[in-house]
């Protein structure tokens, strides 16, 4: 599997560290309540298909990347800088 780092270009998967669902970019308000926080911390979808994860370009440029990929075909559909995604959410 190869992932296109927005900075470095296409790189081998071994340079990256998998972090998990990109939900981490959307942290709830501290006062959002137990149900919301329980959902944020523990509950994840496990789709057979398109998913959105955070990856870390650990052995490369140290960038956090949002990777949209297909868990069935292993196709990488989109990669974006997490910093840009976060800015766009603000």
């Amino acid at each position: 599997m190869r992932i296109k780092c927005p900075h470095c270009g296409e790189r081998d998967r071994r340079e990256f560290y998998y972090v998990g669902d990109a939900v981490a970019l959307d942290r709830p308000d501290p006062d959002a309540g137990d149900v919301v926080w329980d959902d944020y911390v523990h509950n994840r979808d496990n789709p057979a298909g398109v998913t959105r994860d955070l990856w870390y370009h650990e052995s490369g440029c140290s960038t956090w990347i949002v990777v949209t990929r297909n868990t069935v075909t292993h196709e990488i559909l989109k990669t974006e800088l997490a910093s840009k995604v976060k800015e766009a959410m603000a």
Partner: protein, 183 residues
């Protein structure tokens, strides 16, 4: 008072040569990481140019020359190699001394590309990776910075604590390449 001796990371390990490819240590020098503050990229580049004669490197690029180089070192960071950093840089960037934290070696020779092809998962051939190009990547399992400094020479940087492993991995690959072309 004890008289302490400065010991370079590859002291006693380098230089070595196999099959026309040489690996040598670059003398210990001043290393400084420079990370521009938000919106200060252009101002920093101008300050760097005025103080040290090179622009702030673009992504995957290195600027300057032997003795005074700036190498792109990851998101929003460059490594200044050689000069004592001018105080004017501090206005626009976080400037941090990294001297002695990294080992710097030079791999040189006609088959240097073949040696690196055995170790680094990035295309470093001339057509794709020209003089002044740089990459943060891996050498075996180590994170490194690799920069092409000439038609057949590369500057490789790794953590100082990994110096012995770096030399071992490179030398093993150099021997392999040399054996393949022997006789």
């Amino acid at each position: 008072m004890v008289d302490l001796m400065a010991k370079s990371p590859c002291d006693g390990l380098l230089p070595v040569e196999h099959g026309g490819v040489s690996l040598s240590e670059i003398d210990m020098t001043v290393l400084t990481s420079v990370s521009p503050y938000k919106g200060q990229d252009k101002a920093l580049s101008a300050a760097l140019k005025e103080a040290h004669g090179m622009a702030f490197p673009g992504i995957n690029r290195a600027t300057g020359k032997e003795g005074a180089r700036a190498i792109w070192f990851g998101q929003g960071q460059a490594m200044l190699i050689g000069p004592d950093p001018a105080s004017s840089l501090c206005v626009h960037a976080a400037v941090t001394d990294q001297s002695d934290a990294w080992v710097l070696v030079r791999l040189e020779g006609g088959r240097a590309e073949d040696v690196l092809a055995r170790l680094v998962p990035v295309d470093l051939r001339q057509a794709a990776f020209k003089r002044g190009h740089t990459a943060r990547t891996q050498l075996q399992h180590m994170m490194i910075s690799v920069t092409r400094t000439g038609d057949s020479s590369f500057l490789i940087m790794a953590f100082r604590s990994m110096a012995k492993t770096l030399v071992h991995d490179l030398e093993t690959a150099m021997r392999g390449v040399a054996a393949r072309h022997a006789g």
